[in-house]
């Protein structure tokens, strides 16, 4: 028996003028996501239909659960619009069910001879006769069997699953994500993707103070984010020279503040170079000294570019919940130093001032250093591990 996945669009339906563009983007994203599988996708204004081969159903659903812009989906039986065949299939699809149920008919094809309510009653009767474990409850049923009668085909389904919601990635422009290797920044990236923003990731590294493992950790995190989009560019910024200069020349209390200001300056330049419109990061209000509102405003003062902080108002535990859901938590907690933790002063300033920053920054020629650093940025394209790595060996 043939089955199809019926996909209902997310918030897309509200966007009148752009609707076509949104649906097209979602279509492309799903197509890319399911690449290599034996499937056929078609779409209309209200839904997308994916035909698949039975043995790949688990993979198909798993992948659909990683695409933004899907409100909900059903796995439906698809048969010819034929009274007897529909009856037979209805009985078959309810064979294993217990508890209460109701039948809901949507008669799109008005030529179908029986009216919706009447048809629901008839089918309900047939099901009852064939499964003594079921009872009818039209108000609060455990299972609702929906029958959609179209011209040629009829769809039957019982369970509805929720997708990730959000907008298809790519309906917005690009943002530059500061990805550190901690718990918060991958979650921020995920949330930005959810709103349809394409992202580039930027990782600041201070080899040899930070290890190659810390970089690999960031690559692994980027791979996890790739599950929700296509491929992601990862810009690796060699930050050692600037960081060492800061620690040589600046007041230790201000080191973190100055370091963050340098990072923002670099972010802005990288964004311009890569057509990014905003900076995205994992700052959460009050979590550490550099994330007090005073610190944020002083650090943010170096750029006019909007800085999106998706997790700014979430509690740490809420952030952790999301990171576990998106499978980044276990990678994030691996114990490798990143450049934010490697030189932490004993008492970072909680209420820095612009004047204090400027005074410290006068101690060295940071513009030249930033220029040199930008020229040495190493950009790699990260893709989701399509197949299991080491497949030939395992």
């Amino acid at each position: 028996m043939e089955r199809v996945v019926l996909i209902k669009y997310g918030e897309l339906t509200t966007k009148k003028g752009n609707r076509k563009f949104f649906i097209h983007t979602l279509y492309q994203n799903i197509k890319k996501k399911l690449d290599g599988l034996n499937i056929k996708i078609s779409r209309d204004i209200s839904r997308m239909y994916i035909e698949f081969s039975e043995e790949e159903i688990d993979t198909v659903l798993k992948k659909i659960n990683q695409v933004f812009g899907i409100h909900s989906y059903q796995v439906a039986y698809k048969i010819e619009t034929d009274l007897e065949k529909i009856k037979e299939l209805a009985i078959f699809s309810m064979k294993e069910k217990t508890g209460t149920f109701k039948v809901e008919t949507r008669r799109v094809n008005k030529n179908f001879p029986i009216q919706s309510t009447e048809f629901s009653g008839q089918i309900g009767g047939c099901i009852l006769k064939n499964n003594s474990n079921l009872k009818v409850d039209v108000h609060h049923p455990d299972t609702t069997l929906t029958i959609e009668i179209l011209d040629r085909y009829t769809y039957l389904y019982t369970d509805k699953y929720f997708g990730l919601g959000g907008y298809p990635v790519g309906v917005q422009s690009k943002g530059m994500l500061m990805l550190s290797g901690g718990i918060d920044s991958p979650v921020s990236g995920y949330l930005a993707l959810k709103r349809g923003v394409k992202i580039d990731c930027v990782y600041f590294e201070a080899i040899p103070h930070t290890s190659i493992e810390a970089r690999n950790k960031v690559i692994e995190l980027t791979k996890k984010l790739c599950q929700y989009t296509d491929s992601i560019k990862l810009h690796i910024v060699p930050f050692t020279a600037i960081q060492e200069e800061i620690y040589k020349k600046c007041n230790p209390e201000y080191c973190i503040t100055i370091m963050r200001r340098m990072m923002y300056r670099i972010m802005e330049k990288l964004a311009k170079k890569n057509k990014g419109l905003v900076i995205i990061n994992g700052e959460s209000i009050g979590q550490v000294a550099s994330q007090t509102l005073t610190s944020m405003s002083v650090i943010n003062a170096v750029t006019n570019m909007p800085v999106i902080r998706p997790v700014a108002c979430l509690d740490k535990l809420e952030i952790i919940d999301i990171s576990k859901k998106i499978d980044t938590y276990d990678i994030s907690i691996l114990p490798y130093e990143d450049c934010c933790t490697v030189f932490v002063p004993k008492h970072p300033v909680i209420n820095p001032t612009i004047q204090g920053c400027l005074k410290n920054e006068k101690q060295f020629d940071y513009e030249k250093l930033i220029e040199e650093t930008i020229n040495k940025v190493n950009t790699i394209v990260i893709q989701e591990d399509k197949k299991q790595e080491f497949e030939s060996l395992l």
Binding site: I212, E213, F390, L393, L394
Partner: protein, 373 residues
């Protein structure tokens, strides 16, 4: 050559050997090293363990790589006893266990543990009522095989696990050496599960202990972090990857392979039932891979060597306990000497052919004819 001793060990799958050799040559790093070669090796190790975990439906951190089932059995049994010294001194096991379990028990008895052996019913399964009557709140460990290696009895370990749910401080260890790769294995309700790779076309010197995460173990080999904290030593990456691959290949089309073996086993049983003086010891509770029979009046070793001359290879009892004369399993079933002292084991796999079975049966008949007087 007719090899009918697959339960003693199997020839390695050539694909596994290829993996082994590739990993030896191309992944030279120590998974614990911090440089890139080490990182690559670690990644490969993690992917291998992940695959084992997925195949057995357990968590990655629940897979402990060992040198094989004997080590896994020792680690499981002695590991929990040392970890939980205050939980009780009572252990329940059976006489049908592998020597690596039985010898552990003998040792434990010497140092003060009380060991009870569950009665085995005539049909080869453990007497559940007797088992229940033995359980006390001092019972720290129950160790029962999944499939017996000599005769092939397959115990209902899930049922035993269900009973043990009422005994939260009792730890349930199952020796699955003869089960993995032959029959479907479900690890719910089991705390510790051991197996060896070479029983399913993997390499000798490798195996695993599956340890559920709520159980702790005292390591037998100390020395800090390796693949796990429970067994030290530089991770044997080529063997770990090989085990993962062998397990994947073994579980591929398991039901089809089972059917092949079942058919051959039925044929074999049917043929030998026609021979006078041969008594079939394996019954409907046995996996089809093992066919144990007693040949009245002929010493098993004599039979083994007589068949060997025809290039047919079988076992007397199990390869692991060739020192004592009578079969412990058959003795536990209260069989008399004429049966327990005269048993041979034929073990087959999906690689066995009908011709091989026929060759064996013909030669068995001839040998019996020639050796009887």
């Amino acid at each position: 050559m007719v090899y009918l001793d697959y339960s003693a060990t199997t020839p390695a799958n050539p694909e596994v050997v290829e993996t082994f050799s590739k990993v030896c040559l191309e992944y030279i790093g120590n998974p614990n090293s911090l440089h890139q070669l080490g990182v690559d090796a670690k990644k490969l190790m993690d992917a291998s363990i992940k695959q084992i975990a997925e195949l057995l439906k357990v968590r990655e951190e629940e897979v402990i790589f060992t040198s094989g089932a004997s080590e896994a059995n020792n680690l499981a049994i002695r590991g929990v006893l040392e970890k939980y010294p205050n939980r009780g001194k009572h252990i329940i096991t059976t006489k049908l266990e592998h020597s690596s379990v039985l010898e552990c028990m003998n040792y434990l008895e010497k140092i003060g543990y009380i060991i009870d052996y569950v009665n085995i019913k005539e049909d080869g399964l453990i007497d559940i009522n007797h088992f229940k009557s033995l359980l006390t709140k001092d019972t720290i460990l129950v160790s029962i095989h999944h499939v017996n290696s000599e005769v092939g009895f397959c115990q209902k370990v899930q049922e035993i696990g269900e009973i043990l749910k009422d005994y939260p401080t009792t730890i349930f260890h199952v020796d699955g050496t003869q089960a993995v790769g032959k029959i479907p294995v479900h690890l719910e309700n089991i705390d510790l599960y051991s197996f060896s790779s070479h029983k399913f076309f993997g390499l000798k010197g490798s195996g695993c202990l599956i340890k559920k995460r709520n159980i702790e173990l005292e390591p037998m080999i100390h020395g800090g972090k390796s693949q796990t904290d429970y067994r030290s030593g530089t991770p044997a990456l080529p063997l770990i990857v090989s085990t993962s691959k062998a397990l994947r290949l073994a579980l591929q089309d398991l039901d089809k392979k089972y059917e092949i073996v079942k058919e051959l086993s039925d044929l074999l049983k049917q043929e030998i039932s026609k021979i006078d003086g041969v008594i079939l010891n394996s019954n409907e509770n046995c996996i089809p891979h093992i066919v144990n029979m007693s040949i009245l009046g002929i010493k098993p070793e004599t039979m083994l060597h007589a068949l060997e001359q025809k290039e047919i290879y079988i076992s007397t009892k199990t390869a692991c306990s060739k020192d004592s004369s009578n079969s412990l399993t058959l003795t536990a079933l209260k069989k008399d000497d004429s049966i327990s002292g005269h048993s041979i084991r034929v073990s087959i796999s999906y690689l066995t052919t009908k011709e091989e079975i026929n060759t064996f049966v013909e030669n068995l008949k001839n040998c019996i004819q020639n050796l009887k007087f």
